[in-house]
């Protein structure tokens, strides 16, 4: 029900739907306020008993009023109606009820409550074991639950962002506003973040005055000044959700959830805020009292009831009652009276409760029961003067306030019990660089909060080396809090602690009786505090009950662990931008567009995309294209983009000595204009990477790495230069992206190059493993006579900006000569035919010795990995060594990953003699070929062994050969 003349929110009328029915609300007000304005009190069903539930709170801690917004793949479950703002066209649905919210079949669970207490699942669903996953779990999951996901791909946009500041102020209530103002006026870079759409905190929901005017007017004035300061950033709708090391804070901003879908806006943005200092002004959360049937729709926290009235102009009931243990809660009764709403009675547990002329006050009172199936209709009370029933549709309750200490505990600190406020307060120095001000550390009067905000900000500024400005404190209320402990009303029936998870006082007592006395055990046995509100409303009361049941004090009982996030964060926001292709950066070569134009399927190679093959008309399968491309290279000429290989430029007087130390073989004697194959080891003696290094000039080298290890090798070279050999004068730079490089391979490769180079290739100047500068259609480039195919071949490099043009020229000329472009599949076949290595073989557990390259390890110099590579165990003949494999029956499959066994031995793990690393169909030799590692392999050439792949169901007899299947003398590459 709306109350004329009350509320400070001026939003336009907006139509929204709840469970299919259309209602009118006001734009920008929480859905919970709009539902109450339309007298909707039943909003959801509880997790376990499917009890009818309404709205408990007015904040992000809401445990009951969870709804699903949106539709289909864009639907969002478990949205708190207290947080979701109304906009014209908003669709919301209730959850966990079937067929309807009012007539939920599963409410039968509530009748069986005696059997569904703490530990029910553990005790009931034990036998038979086979039923655990297939029968019990599906049933339990269907019966108990919250909203569901669509199962479809999430089409919504989310973002991630970073921010930096001197001082982060968390929460924009009285303390936070003063802290931000103090820091803002000092010139410090300030971020003020608040989870609400409008800043001001309790200033917006209370009727007290600041500076002799309404508190919200004062707050607006402060916000105007803050907004005018260039060094202050205001971040409304932004919840600081977690505290991390070195002043890093996670925060979730609601960007597009409060308005009609706009494709330009993300729904949410997850911020990482790095702050030199922070002040936590998170306020406090009012706690409910546990009494019989305290969970009916219409039973709410006292601050929420007056907040809906004062801020949104909505009365939560027509006849309100209040149950409290402190003076602060009496504001609710006074505010209701001021709005002309009937207050049917105030039940105060103390005998010192303030009296009133406007409503009856029942001292030493307690609520002992409630009635109303789908919403509260009356309560039963006991008090100093006897017992009675009171007709009421809204019971406001307050057991006092719990300071929001959550963020102070995220780095492991525990809060400290304060007997005076009967609450946990933040421990001193809980988070380095974070101070706490106001209600979050138990300062409950407005005057106290204002002063504390100034004081904590001033200390933070001092630590930052900034002078705090003098701030005049505004006049405001400084009323005492006055509270007597009240956690539960003893009696029969169920009194709820954790509303969402249906944990009652009885459950906690039972957990204690069954010896789950540790608070962490009690939590897990009862599920107390494990709902979406993470026990914000209930944990302290549950602790008090556990303390009582175990005969300990609350301080001694302790709290459970507080972990981020403070309030729910969607995984989509945390992973924003990382869906699909956004998961990793994409690197494209200069020939990418031309390859895609030719219909080449692109495959991932690390972050790079490379063409798999270049299909031609009439080719039905990839194998046909691949076989043709291999044939082109062996018979005419092929062109392949090899720009993805890492290129590292190494210069300096000590460059040669540096390479000698990095590579296992010697490079310092390499002459300018020559190229050498090098093998690089890790410190533990295993192979790190291989590749060629060209000597471009005196003290100037160009190293190539494999595509996969380019980053790793660059890091390794920096490590050697900076850590192991800092005395060497050498400069290292990655130039992978600077050069486009293409392999031109095949008997007609020189003919092709001659048609494009400004001067023909001089065979004398370019023998095998030579390099030098060339001019390619007027562009200065580099030519390398190297081969990864076994053919007479070159690699030609030009600055990357000419790559796309050169690629098209090369391919066109190759086609004239009866060749063309070839892709990764053909490249792999060509190298397997030649027994050349990739990271399939250099997989980190193999040595130069295993590869048959032991002779490359220089005995005349020190190099990385030398000591470890010399260990006897790495040089034993019984080690698995690189071999070639060829099927006895030509063309039989030799799948990679298959294991190798003696012909008659059972194919079990203990009998494995090795495994296959690479496999290909060789059109050149007309059979399948493979490379692999076999125990004592070099001594077993000619032997027939059995290859077994249990995964694919393959078994093939094959012959062990040397790794090089084609042109073992290497005449084709040299000639």
């Amino acid at each position: 029900m709306r109350v004329a003349g009350f509320g400070i929110h001026a939003g336009a009328a907006a139509r929204f739907r709840f469970d299919g029915q259309s209602f009118e609300g006001r734009e920008g007000e929480p859905l919970a306020a709009a539902l109450l304005a339309n007298d909707i009190r039943l909003v959801g069903r509880s997790f376990k008993y499917h009890r009818p539930r309404g709205i408990l709170t007015a904040g992000s801690e809401e445990p009951n009023a969870l709804v699903t917004t949106g539709d289909g793949a864009g639907a969002t479950p478990n949205v708190r109606a207290t947080v979701q703002e109304v906009w014209d066209g908003l669709e919301a649905r209730s959850q966990n009820a079937w067929p309807s919210l009012r007539a939920d079949v599963m409410a039968v669970n509530d009748l069986a409550w005696r059997f569904l207490g703490a530990g029910f699942y553990y005790k009931t669903f034990m036998w038979p074991r086979a039923f655990w996953e297939r029968v019990y779990e599906p049933i339990i999951r269907r019966a108990a639950g919250l909203g569901g996901l669509s199962g479809a791909h999430n089409p919504d946009r989310y973002e991630r962002a970073f921010a930096y500041c001197d001082l982060l102020v968390i929460g924009a209530g009285p303390a936070g506003l003063m802290a931000a103002l103090t820091a803002g006026r000092s010139g410090a870079r300030v971020i003020l973040a608040d989870e609400d759409a409008r800043m001001g905190g309790r200033c917006l929901s209370e009727r007290f005055e600041i500076c002799a005017g309404p508190a919200h007017v004062w707050a607006s004035g402060v916000l105007d000044e803050l907004a005018s300061l260039p060094n202050v950033t205001l971040m409304p709708r932004t919840t600081v959700t977690g505290v991390y090391d070195q002043g890093t804070y996670g925060a979730l901003e609601r960007v597009g959830l409060h308005r009609a879908a706009d494709p330009r806006l993300p729904l949410e943005c997850f911020w990482r805020i790095v702050a030199k200092r922070a002040v936590l002004c998170a306020g406090a959360i009012e706690r409910p009292v546990a009494f019989k049937d305290n969970d009916r729709p219409g039973v709410m926290t006292a601050s929420a009831v007056r907040g809906y009235l004062n801020r949104w102009g909505v009365a939560a009931g027509q006849s309100v009652t209040l149950f409290a243990n402190n003076d602060d809660a009496h504001r609710t009764a006074r505010d209701m009276v001021a709005a002309g709403i009937k207050v049917a009675g105030v039940i105060d547990s103390r005998d010192t409760a303030p009296d009133s002329r406007d409503y009856p006050v029942y001292r030493q009172g307690r609520v002992v029961g409630t009635r109303g199936r789908l919403g509260l209709t009356s309560i039963s009370i006991a008090h100093a003067g006897g017992v009675r029933d009171i007709r009421t549709d809204c019971l406001a309750m307050s057991g006092g306030w719990n300071p929001s200490v959550h963020l102070t505990c995220h780095l492991g600190a525990r809060p400290v019990w304060d007997p005076e406020t009967q609450a946990f307060l933040p421990a001193d120095g809980a988070v380095p660089g974070l101070a706490v001000a106001g209600a979050a550390r138990g300062v409950f009067s407005t005057a106290g909060c204002l002063a504390d905000g100034v004081a904590q900000a001033a200390s933070a500024l001092e630590a930052l080396g900034l002078a705090a400005p003098k701030i005049d404190l505004p006049d405001t209320e400084d009323d005492p809090y006055r509270l007597a402990a009240l956690w539960q009303v003893p009696g029969k029936g169920r009194a709820w602690l954790d509303f969402q998870n249906d944990v009652t006082v009885k459950d906690v007592v039972q957990a204690a009786a069954e010896n789950f006395r540790s608070v962490e055990h009690m939590k897990r046995y009862t599920t107390q505090g494990m709902a979406t509100d993470q026990g914000k409303n209930s944990n302290v009361a549950a602790l008090a009950v556990l303390a009582d049941a175990t005969g300990r004090g609350i301080a001694e009982t302790g709290t459970t662990t507080f972990r981020p996030p403070f309030s729910p964060v969607s995984i989509a926001a945390l992973g924003a931008g990382a869906q699909g292709k956004g998961f990793a950066p994409q690197r494209f070569t200069t020939s990418h567009a031309a390859s895609v134009e030719r219909g080449a399927p692109m495959i991932e190679a690390g972050l790079w995309y490379r063409p798999s093959y270049f299909p031609r008309a009439g080719e039905a399968t990839w194998r046909e294209a691949c076989d043709r491309e291999v044939g082109m290279v062996r018979g005419a000429v092929g062109v392949c983009d090899v720009s993805t290989l890492g290129k590292i430029d190494i210069k300096g007087p000590d460059a040669g000595a540096f390479l000698d130390f990095v590579y296992a073989n010697t490079f310092s004697k390499l002459k300018p204009g020559r190229v050498r194959y090098g093998l690089m080891l890790r410190e533990d003696g295993h192979v790190m990477d291989d590749g060629t290094t060209a000597c471009l000039g005196e003290g100037h080298y160009l190293m190539t790495t494999t595509t996969a290890a380019a980053g790793l090798v660059m890091r390794h070279l920096d490590y050697v230069a900076q850590v192991l050999r800092p005395e060497m004068d050498v400069q290292i730079a990655s130039v992978t992206e600077h050069w486009a490089q293409f392999a031109v391979a095949g008997p007609k490769s020189r003919e092709l190059l001659d048609s494009l180079l400004d001067a023909p290739v001089d065979p004398e100047a370019f023998p095998f493993m030579a390099c030098g500068p060339v001019s390619v259609t007027g562009v200065s480039g580099r030519l390398f006579r190297i081969s990864f195919s076994g053919e007479h071949a070159y690699e030609v490099a030009v600055p990357a900006r000419y790559g796309a043009a050169l690629w098209r020229l090369l391919v066109a000329q190759a086609e004239v000569l009866g060749g063309g472009a070839y892709g990764m599949e053909a490249l792999n076949v060509l190298r397997i035919e030649k027994g050349l290595l990739t990271h399939a073989e250099l997989h980190g557990r193999t040595t130069a010795f295993d590869m048959g390259l032991g002779g490359m390890l220089s005995k005349k110099k020190d190099f990385v990995g030398r000591a470890a590579a010399g260990r006897a165990g790495l040089l034993e003949d019984s080690r698995q060594q690189l071999v070639g494999l060829r099927p006895v029956e030509a063309g039989a499959p030799l799948p990679a990953g298959a294991h190798l066994f003696e012909k008659t031995a059972p194919a079990v793990r203990g009998n494995s003699h090795g495994y296959v690393t690479s496999t290909a169909h060789s059109p050149t030799l007309g059979t399948t070929l493979a490379l692999g590692f076999l125990a004592s392999g070099r001594a077993r050439h000619g032997e027939t062994i059995r290859l077994v792949d249990h995964m694919r169901g393959v078994e093939t007899l094959c012959e062990v050969t040397g790794p090089v299947a084609f042109d073992p003398e290497g005449g084709r590459a040299r000639g």
């Binding site: 970073f162 991390y244 090391d245 070195q246 002043g247 890093t248 990482r272 790095v274 780095l411 380095p432 410190e683 533990d684 660059m714 890091r715 920096d718 490590y719 900076q722 850590v723 192991l724 800092p726 290292i732 000591a867 470890a868 010399g870 260990r871």
Partner: protein
């Protein structure tokens, strides 16, 4: 986690690659020192010095930090740190 790069200033953890404790590499042929250096690393509760690579600028940094409090107390270029 924030790590001070002597070249770029304090930067986010995600820009760094962790290597391990900042130990001096042994000299000479294989020995128990090598075994210890490669395979038997300490796991201290408290102050530790380890090497991190700052990927954007290519600087190896020796970082002093506390594995218990998570405090990061220093970061100097490995080139200057010595072994």
């Amino acid at each position: 986690m924030r790590i001070p790069c002597p070249h770029c200033g304090t930067r986010d953890l995600r820009e760094f690659t962790y290597q391990g404790a900042a130990l001096a590499q042994p000299e000479g042929d294989w020995s128990p020192d090598w075994d210890s250096y490669l395979h038997l690393r300490d796991n201290p509760a408290g102050e530790t010095r380890d090497r991190w690579y700052h990927n954007p600028c290519g600087t190896w940094v020796v970082v002093t930090r506390d594995t218990v409090s998570h405090a990061v107390t220093g970061g100097i270029a490995a080139r200057e740190a010595g072994a």
